[in-house]
Amino acid sequence: MDQKRIPLNLFDNFDLATELRLGLPGSDDQTEKKTSLSGNKRSSSEMESTTCSEENESRFSPPMKEQVVGWPPVRSYRKNILQVKKNDSESGSGMYVKVSMDGAPYLRKVDLKVYTSYEELMKGLQAMFKCNIGLYSEKEGYNGSMHAPTYEDKDGDWMLVGDVPWEMFISSCKRLRIMKSCEARGLGDS
């Protein structure tokens, strides 16, 4: 039996932490750091008698860690509470954001977490303000409609909605403003 067992799995974990990924910080991929089963001593009797179960073969595949079912022994309602909290805090300032529309007397608030794409967000905004926002194109912005959606990002700059990937958008969006198309023209130009 190994007396001095250096926890090599800690080093594996380090690599995962520095790995570059395209994903929102705090998204499930990264936070599900897995517990290691590789390299752990298993008695030979167990190995023989469990060969009929496919499940066990995956346990011997280093170095990726698997998440073990039911471990650690935390009730699911406790896990959920904390996951939600994590998402709230790690998605930056982009959950409930104020939305103003030029010409409308009062502001609204939308929960960006509810949407998974720009199309959905546009539909939501159009329904909320009874306006037509139209389709986004990279070259021309929101040409062909009365309104153009813009947002204020973390740096305080006003940007046209749609230029950056959705995940990046919701992590940096602080508030939305639906401008009149004629005023928005300046944003789309180089």
Partner: protein, 581 residues
């Protein structure tokens, strides 16, 4: 002997004996005592709903007023028990509705309860008073509406940690205006919004209300109006604990709390905004139970709170408390009996908080009455465990979860055998133990030798061979529940200790090395055990006898094999041709 005391006198004497164990012993003295006792037993506790049938219970105890039932094995809490396993309440309520018209209390744990079952409660018992559903599932808010509407004298409705299909919050409005008997309401597990005005009216017309645990959907701004209507509350659970920062909200909350002179227990605290923490400082000095296990607040805030709670007996908290907060706890709360520290981020390997074994050591030093511990952490050492054992020989429940399976002593890289050995050696009254970390057969030798009062043992990723299991089964005289996962325990230990299994309530083994053949043999040797093999891959009939079973649940029973097993469970010793589809 039978003519020495009239029955009425014996009955009167027995009425002072309330513990189930004592009642059971009384019934064994002689036949006449058995008869007298069974007619005057009012409260029945059934720790495994499949150990006995409703008919047997009713035949023996015809005048029962309170029934407590437990269903699924404990590991169901961690998703180890497949969906559809069983534990149905319906067969029980059908019989109790006929036999016990005067039934007042039902308490269920880990059972599957349906709306029909709840409706039946409402229809069948005119004196019904107490319904406690702990970690149950299978029902919706419609069932709750039936309870609210029909149980005219309802005293207690407690849904602790149950999974409820939350169709709407309207169920609360079904409490009739004439209902003024409510003393305890725990709806903290529900997600949907209830009508706040209905809730306020209910609280206002319930002068005996002592316990009110709200759900997350009740906004903080509304808490003060509720508290003002119920200043007599003893136990309170908040809803979400954040709101737009507003000094009016703050001051009305603080004022409302200050009027609650009886408040001893607080919980809730979802989504905490630290700005609002001081509002309940006025009640801290009286608190005996504080549940901050949903409160994502940092150590300084936690310390600030607990340093004001000198009478605290039970603390549940997240590991955000860190070693520093636990140190504060050890200095401030000399009456502490129970500590539970939950992990804030259980799935990352690296520590996100500065909580180590030192925190627990500090509490074990500073809190002389500490009896019960549940502690999640990322590192442990034998020396820390030995220190804890020496400090606190009065421990009765010690559950340690080192997050990484098979993690050794982080200082010496040795197994944690000697550390846990010290715990069982010093803590002579230990009743419950959960092991974790790197452990060899040695630790089980210590447990078998010393843990003579141990009733429940949980083992995961531990041991080397059958010898480990053998030590436990042959040595732990008081063992009632044993649950094991991912350990190299096989046939030998089990088959060498078959009669032990009839002295226990149940044994769970999953991902171990027990063969199908051994299960069959065990079941032949011990006809009063149900040996249930759980295999979700199907096709158990075509497996060779030397194949290891996935999961195994063995329990003693006087009711024979159960008839409601799903397709993925087979009770050994039963001819499969006669199994019901």
């Amino acid at each position: 002997m039978t003519s020495s005391f009239p029955e009425e006198v014996l009955e009167h004497v027995f009425s002072f004996i309330t513990s189930h164990k004592d009642r059971n012993v009384v019934s064994l003295v002689c036949k006449s005592w058995y008869e007298i006792e069974r007619w005057c037993r009012r409260r029945v506790f059934i720790g495994n709903c499949y150990a006995v049938s409703p008919e047997i219970m009713i035949r023996r105890f015809p005048e029962v007023r309170a029934v407590e039932l437990k269903g699924k094995p404990h590991f169901a809490d961690f998703n180890l028990v497949p969906e559809g396993w069983g534990g149905y309440f319906y067969p029980w309520i059908v019989e109790m509705a006929k036999a016990y018209p005067l039934l007042e209390e039902i308490k269920l744990k880990r059972m599957v309860v349906s709306d029909e079952g709840l409706e039946m409660i409402g229809r069948s018992f005119r004196c019904f008073k107490v319904l406690i559903l702990s970690s149950c599932e299978g029902f919706s808010t419609d069932g709750l509406a039936a309870i609210a509407a029909n149980c005219r004298n309802l005293r207690e409705l407690d849904l602790r940690e149950s999974e409820v299909e939350d169709l709407s919050g309207h169920w609360l409005s079904h409490f009739p205006d004439a209902c003024t008997s409510l003393e305890s309401l725990n709806m903290s597990c529900l997600s949907s919004e209830v009508s706040l005005s209905a809730l306020q009216r209910l609280v206002a017309r319930s002068p005996k209300l002592k316990t009110l645990r709200l759900n997350r959907a009740v906004p903080l701004e509304k808490l003060s109006t509720l508290l003002l209507r119920a200043p007599q509350l003893v136990e309170m659970g908040t809803g979400a604990y954040s709101a737009d920062i507003h000094s009016d909200v703050y001051s009305s909350l603080a004022a409302a709390f200050s009027k609650c002179k009886e408040l001893k227990s607080l919980s809730g605290f979802w989504d905490v905004d630290p700005y609002y923490l001081p509002v309940f400082y006025s009640v801290c000095s009286r608190l005996t139970f504080l549940n901050l296990s949903y409160a994502t607040i940092q150590s300084p805030d936690v310390s600030k709170i607990i340093s004001q709670c000198p009478n605290l007996q039970r603390l549940w908290v997240l590991d955000y408390i860190e070693d520093s907060g636990l140190n504060t706890l050890s200095l401030s709360c000399k009456d502490l009996r129970e500590l539970r520290v939950f992990p804030s981020d259980p799935f990352i390997a690296d520590a996100n908080v500065s909580l180590t074994e030192q925190g627990l050591v500090a509490v074990s030093e500073g809190c002389p009455k500490l009896q019960s511990v549940l502690y999640f952490c990322r590192q442990m050492s034998n020396s820390a465990l030995i220190t804890i054992a020496n400090n606190r020989p009065n421990l009765t429940c010690f559950r340690l979860c080192i997050l990484e399976p098979r993690a050794p002593d982080y200082l010496t890289f040795e197994p944690l055998d000697t550390g846990f050995g010290a715990i069982v050696d010093q803590c002579k009254g230990l009743q419950r133990l959960s092991l974790s970390g790197l452990l060899t057969d040695r630790v089980f030798e210590y447990i078998g030798k010393h843990a003579k009062k141990l009733e429940m043992l949980s083992i995961a990723f531990a041991g080397d061979s059958d010898l480990g299991l053998h030590h436990v089964l042959s040595g732990c005289d008081s063992l009632r529940k044993l649950e094991i996962r991912d350990c190299p325990f096989g046939d030998k230990a089990l088959l060498a200790n078959v009669s032990k299994l009839e002295t226990m309530r149940s044994l769970w083994m999953s991902s171990c090395a027990v063969s199908l053949g051994a299960c069959k043999l065990l079941s032949r040797k011990m006809p009063r055990l149900n040996v249930e093999v759980i295999d979700e891959q199907g096709d158990l009939d075509s497996r060779p006898d030397n194949c290891a079973v996935e999961k195994l649940y063995i329990y003693r029973t006087v009711a024979g094999p159960r008839l409601d097993t799903p397709s993925f469970i087979q009770t050994m010793g039963q001819n499969t041709a006669y199994r019901l589809p």
